[in-house]
Symmetry: C2
Subunit: 270 residues, 2 copies
């Protein structure tokens, strides 16, 4: 089933609750881009309490790549700040289960894996600011080209906390100069979903040797009159997790995010 | 007498009223950069009423180069919106008098030239946003180098009104990428003093062939890791005046601005 099938089922856009209900029933197990338009989606990291405090400090020290939308109580699968009915064991379309740093499974439900010491982190994602950019009339290259956003490991180190460390990962979107200015203005309004860019122009200055060879996602075309603009990316905490190799950890599968009841517009700070 | 002498006279920074009083007494006839710190300074254009409506529409159509702070009543030398005691005939350190488009005089007082049909326009200037940039810790190259800001005629046409037309003139300040992002954020808060940049990066895209050869002001050094950032400039209306060649017109002399009672901080929109 694809998004169009889901939308056709009731002929109106899905609310966050409707989308989550279908995901919970196992009717949607793929990426969530474009699903429940207008609602905030989040990256998910689930860790044992023993590591959770280190990870919380890691996020606090690196707010641009790791903007925290919510942190659960230990052992609680609920996230009331993001939606009354959310059950983190069932409401993500597809999970990744990691043991000692190795990917061991990609289930659509983690109820049987739940433990009383697990803490859930939900981290803002770029879908929210991309919606704001498009509503302002800007074209986003990877969306126009039907690709994943290109992402790059940089030479910029994150601030470490406990075992969590590693490079900042950035996503790149090219724009003409006038749209770069608009993009800075618009994304500055959304600090909870990565906020303003962290770099623009020469990629070598942040250790990116070749824009045509992203470390994650797909390369996109760049025109001569365009400036590549780089935002801190939610893959940064995943790179830090890969480095820390926790004994147990669950994340969302790439692109299959948690859909929250928050509206993107609610995140704007002015 | 220089600025230091003026400041030494009372050992505290001058208020706008104090600075204007000294200018009015003829004790200060030079540029006003750094004088009455914190107060908004403005470009001045004084035109006969017959042309004033065209010029007003020119400013309305080109708000980035021509952000209007105030327009006087015809024949009134007062500008109460900018300061209770302002007398536009005496309160600018040095004027330029133009007849049929030719510079004919540079007096320090225009009381004897005043006419009942004259309308005064005060247009925001970049001193205000430069103060905000420096307060945020950014270094401004031309200030560090003790030069005038470099300004360039562009291939971007203004929207014409009556006889007023011509190219947009821009000023340029180079920054590293992270400071470019900060500069967009900071100057976006000040739409009444040119606001956000209009371009960044490749100067050729707006018709500037050589940054080392500004049309006005002085060239500044540009490092390999810096991006040139361009703001709409208050010289734009002067270029439009030069093109229109009004029978009579008075402007401030370059850099010798009207000091108002408005605080730069008051202009911030958020």
């Amino acid at each position: 089933m694809n998004i169009l099938d889901l939308s056709a089922a009731d002929a109106t856009p899905l609310s966050a609750q409707q989308a989550r209900a279908r995901i919970r029933r196992g009717e949607w197990t793929a990426h969530t881009s474009g699903l429940a338009d207008g609602y905030v989606q989040g990256n998910v990291v689930i860790l044992p309490e023993a590591l959770a405090n280190d990870f919380l400090r890691f996020c606090q020290r690196n707010p641009k790549p790791c903007p925290l939308l919510a942190v659960s109580e230990p052992g609680q699968a609920k996230l009331p700040a993001l939606g009354e009915d959310i059950d983190i064991c069932t409401d993500v379309p597809r999970y990744r289960v990691w043991r000692d740093g190795e990917l061991t499974d990609e289930p659509t439900d983690i109820s049987t894996l739940w433990r009383k010491d697990l803490v859930t982190f939900v981290i803002g994602c770029s879908f929210s600011f991309e919606e704001a950019l498009m509503q302002a009339g800007l074209r986003i290259r990877h969306i126009d080209q039907g690709r994943n956003v290109p992402m790059y490991r940089t030479s910029v180190a994150t601030e470490s906390a406990g075992p969590f460390r590693g490079p900042m990962v950035v996503s790149m979107r090219p724009f003409k100069a006038a749209d770069v200015i608009r993009a800075v203005q618009i994304t500055s309004r959304f600090p909870n979903v990565h906020g303003a860019p962290v770099h623009m122009g020469d990629p070598l200055l942040i250790g990116i040797a070749d824009l045509a060879k992203p470390d994650y996602g797909d390369a996109v075309d760049l025109q001569a009159d365009e400036i590549p603009v780089f935002w801190a990316c939610g893959v940064t905490p995943q790179a830090a997790l890969a480095q820390a190799r926790p004994e147990f950890c669950v994340t969302h599968a790439p692109g299959a995010m948690l859909i929250t009841d928050l509206l993107n517009h609610q995140l704007a700070i002015f």
